[in-house]
Homo-oligomer: 252 residues x 2
């Protein structure tokens, strides 16, 4: 487990790329230099290299930069190799189509959920959760699912790291959260009642391996009004069916 000092130029280059995670808005050299507190010429050298390698693309009209297509190629190499996302995607699509809402697939990593796939329907308002996003466990539907179905020792450790109000609805004390987790275990699904973002609700279920270990979580996410408009028992059954189908296809 290396702890050697990071290579400076590389670290800086990557932080430039990461600036574009804001939806890939075009940025000028100056803007980047200010944001990272570097000299213009340093930033230019890095950007220029990234552009030559097609990781950035320069708009010829205003000279500003945005992410290049090479980034797409890399990203797809990840998802291509990700058996879970690959197996799950068609099932998420069906669910998105059936309920006309966004469907998300998440895994747990180091006490965070990471979204690794997403499907939308043509009519659904786009949910601003981007693939690759990390969120804390206690304040999301998929996260609470993980807390409910992971070994108690792990969940206790993660909860011990602290809870806090992300929205007024977030469960920010351990006893209430423990009650909630019990109820999730009983019902087999979690409900996110605007606990991460006001106006957004979701219903999430666990996906298990053959050995019974929870490996992922699937959710249907959307504006609260529309999610509440769906019959909860039908939705939760559909989600559970989807989770089983994914498990079946994976067969691990």
């Amino acid at each position: 487990m290396g702890k050697t000092k990071n290579i400076q130029s590389l670290e800086r280059a990557m932080s430039i790329l990461e600036l574009f995670e804001d939806g890939n808005r075009e940025k000028s050299v100056k803007e980047i230099a200010i944001k990272l507190d570097l000299s213009k010429s340093t930033v230019f050298g890095l950007i220029n290299t990234l552009a030559n390698l097609n990781y950035l693309h320069q708009n010829e009209d205003n000279l500003k930069y945005s992410l290049g297509l090479k980034v797409l190629a890399l990203g797809s190499a990840v998802s291509q190799s990700n058996l879970l996302a690959k197996a799950a995607n068609p099932h998420l699509q069906k669910l998105s189509f059936k309920f006309q809402e966004t469907c998300l697939l998440a895994i747990e990593e180091n006490g965070f959920v990471v979204y690794i796939d997403k499907t939308e329907s043509s009519s659904s308002i786009s949910i601003n959760t981007r693939i690759g996003t990390k969120k804390e466990l206690f304040c999301t539907g998929v996260g609470k699912c993980f807390l409910a179905f992971m070994p108690k020792e792990n969940s206790d450790n993660i909860i011990a790291l602290g809870l806090r109000k992300v929205t007024p609805n977030t469960i920010d004390n351990a006893p209430d959260l423990e009650k909630e987790l019990n109820s999730i275990r009983k019902r087999g699904f979690a409900f996110d009642n605007e606990e991460y973002e006001l106006g957004i609700s979701c219903v999430a279920v666990p996906v298990f391996s053959n050995a019974g270990k929870m490996i992922a979580s699937v959710s249907l996410t959307g504006p609260t009004a529309r999610i509440r408009g769906i019959d909860l028992s039908e939705l939760s059954e559909s989600l559970k069916f989807t989770a089983k189908a994914i498990s079946g296809d994976l067969n691990i």
Copy 2:
């Protein structure tokens, strides 16, 4: 248009990442060092930085590396920002579902097609075309579409760069290709008769802007036997309908 020398460490780091475009197979430090003809310690410094920043992930069992989740986040920032892919995706999904085959969306860039989105059905054999992949125009269905519907001056220039047999079926002489392009213009769709890969066929149609410029191409791609098993007029009509729907949603 900068032509300044590339920053060495960054260029090397990116070439490391690109090694993983082969489907993200795990690689050892030594393997990478040999492939890039660099010293092990140099590679280690780069890899270690990339891993610390989550662009690479180390398998704790065998110490080998593969692409990390941060790459996903970046890739999704590109597609997020890509209005075309966003508008097209739900329509591609419907098409994949209807015909139970892979659906691809491609744009043209500097005389190449670049695939920017892909949908699959649960039953379809996965087509090995990855998002971000570049291919020449003359040997693919989507590429021939672009040649047929782009300004003749451009297509002539691209064809003048040379044709060659990618498979025995590839059209590798200008007169035959010209005939083919005429027929594509007449029918409104292109057929790829195993011209890029034996055993794989596709039907592709153009997507036009309001101004009548061809901006993208949509294809249904799969094993020849299955593609030929679909009624061609139904398939081409479905593809044209999809292309129109995408144009309509985009409205540019």
